[in-house]
């Protein structure tokens, strides 16, 4: 019983690294989004970008939309671990769940704009540019869904009362840091060149790669946390009644 439960948790946690790999391949490399075109590109440049890469983008963004769902599956793995940690109060785990779900929605929607542009690449260049802009403004400016998810997580990790916390404190602090550097994206709509543009140092390189590194680090420690919870649940199992509600027996 216990083993089965945790097997599913672990399977869901694998979705994190898998999301990262598929997202970088399909969205980043096939979709030519690492790095993106400059927001200062002309209509003709954007139109040519889609004409020259139409089939590559159809595969890239179609697959990116499919695999983006893995982020949601991964969020559920963190959700169940957080529920165990929270005991009776589930507000932080639900903030994580809804934040993760919303993140998937907006990543998917932005990919659908780029996919639409590559569906009929012969379209009027001004419309292609509009679709390209929509994609980038959507994926960047919906950052706050991810921020909510991250802040909920870090609050829980940092207030963990266990002798040895389930997640390391530094991970909580790193998570808060990434959640807050996203706020620099607020400047993105005002600029088309320089470090704050959507292809610039802060709003592309730092923001995206800090998020990627976070997904990887978070995944590693979710596995460790699941192993510990599993061990705790197994230790509690012989006393049949206690194993019914391991969340109460193990959180304090």
């Amino acid at each position: 019983m216990v083993r089965d439960t945790f097997r599913y948790w672990r399977l869901c946690a694998w979705a994190g690294p898998l999301f990262l790999v598929t997202f970088v391949i399909f969205w980043g490399i096939l979709g030519r989004n690492i790095p993106p075109l400059s927001p200062a590109s002309t209509e003709a440049e954007v139109a040519r970008h889609f004409i020259e890469n139409a089939n590559r983008f159809r595969l890239g963004f179609g697959a990116a939309m499919t695999f983006a769902v893995l982020y949601f599956v991964w969020t559920v793995a963190i959700f169940v671990v957080m529920q165990r940690m929270e005991g009776d109060n589930h507000v932080l785990s639900y903030l994580n769940l809804t934040g993760g779900l919303a993140t998937v929605c907006f990543v998917t929607i932005s990919c659908s704009f780029w996919l639409t542009a590559s569906f009929r690449p012969e379209r009027e260049p001004a419309i292609q540019q509009l679709l390209y802009d929509l994609g980038w403004l959507t994926i960047d400016m919906c950052y706050c869904c991810t921020t909510v998810q991250m802040i909920a997580m870090s609050v829980l990790f940092l207030t963990d009362q266990r002798e040895e916390p389930l997640f390391p404190k530094w991970l909580g602090w790193y998570t808060i840091w990434v959640a807050f550097i996203f706020f620099v994206l607020l400047i993105l709509p005002f600029v088309k060149t320089g470090p704050f543009a959507w292809n610039g140092m802060f709003n592309f390189w730092v923001a995206f790669f800090a998020w990627f590194i976070w997904i990887q680090a978070q995944s590693m420690f979710v596995f460790k946390a699941i192993t510990r919870l599993e061990r705790e649940a197994a230790a509690a199992e012989p006393g049949a009644q206690r194993s019914m509600k391991p969340s109460l027996a193990t959180t304090r």
Binding site: W170, G172, W173, I187, F190, G194, M201, F202, V206
Partner: protein, 197 residues
């Protein structure tokens, strides 16, 4: 609520850094981020020194210096709060944190007036590259300051019941370290934006 079981002498050699060790990772990461801000400011400035110097003249170094004084005084009160907490003088902790909050609040109010004056003069984030950096750098710093004010206010609220609790002291130290970082970043920001010629 944190358990009170941890009252008592702290274990020997258990703590080397003040505050939570993880908060130092946050401070390092944040300082690194500001380091990138500062270097890209200097980099863009080199491309157009004349424009940056001309734009800078609209800023008042006196206001900037006053801001610096507010933050330095705030940091001093926070230091006093930490040492009062170590001696379990709860009223002193509350008073010092209140004074720290007043200093930080004064900084925030003067910054808002400064922003208001810039907007009234028709200067904004799109005016030129100098003002882009001015608003982004001071804006991100302002966000940090606001978070710091919330942290100090929470600590002040907890001080009445928490003094003597090891856990409270650790959070107080973490909050103080963060507050000093906000102060430190301003000390670099101020000459960079207001004084460098």
């Amino acid at each position: 609520m944190p358990a009170l079981a941890s009252i008592g002498p702290r274990p020997a050699a258990a703590r080397r850094l003040p505050g939570d060790s993880g908060v130092w990772l946050f401070i390092a990461a944040d300082t690194f981020m500001f380091g990138l801000f500062f270097s890209s400011f200097m980099f863009e400035r080199l491309k157009n020194v004349e424009l940056f110097n001309r734009s800078q003249q609209a800023l008042s170094p006196t206001v900037g210096a006053l801001n610096t004084l507010f933050l330095l005084a705030g940091s001093w009160f926070v230091v006093l709060a930490v040492s009062a907490a170590k001696q379990r003088m709860e009223q002193a902790v509350v008073n010092c944190l209140s004074l720290g909050l007043v200093c930080g609040g004064a900084f925030a109010v003067s910054k808002l007036f400064e922003y208001g004056a810039k907007f009234a003069a028709g200067l904004s984030v799109v005016t030129n590259d100098y003002y882009l950096f001015y608003f982004v750098l001071t804006g991100v710093h302002f966000l940090h300051l606001c978070i710091g004010l919330v942290v100090l206010a929470i600590l002040r609220g907890r001080a009445k019941t928490g003094v003597g609790d090891e856990r409270f002291l650790r959070w107080l130290e973490s909050g103080a370290c963060y507050w000093h970082m906000v102060d430190l970043l301003w000390i670099i920001l101020f000459p960079l934006l207001y004084l460098v010629r």
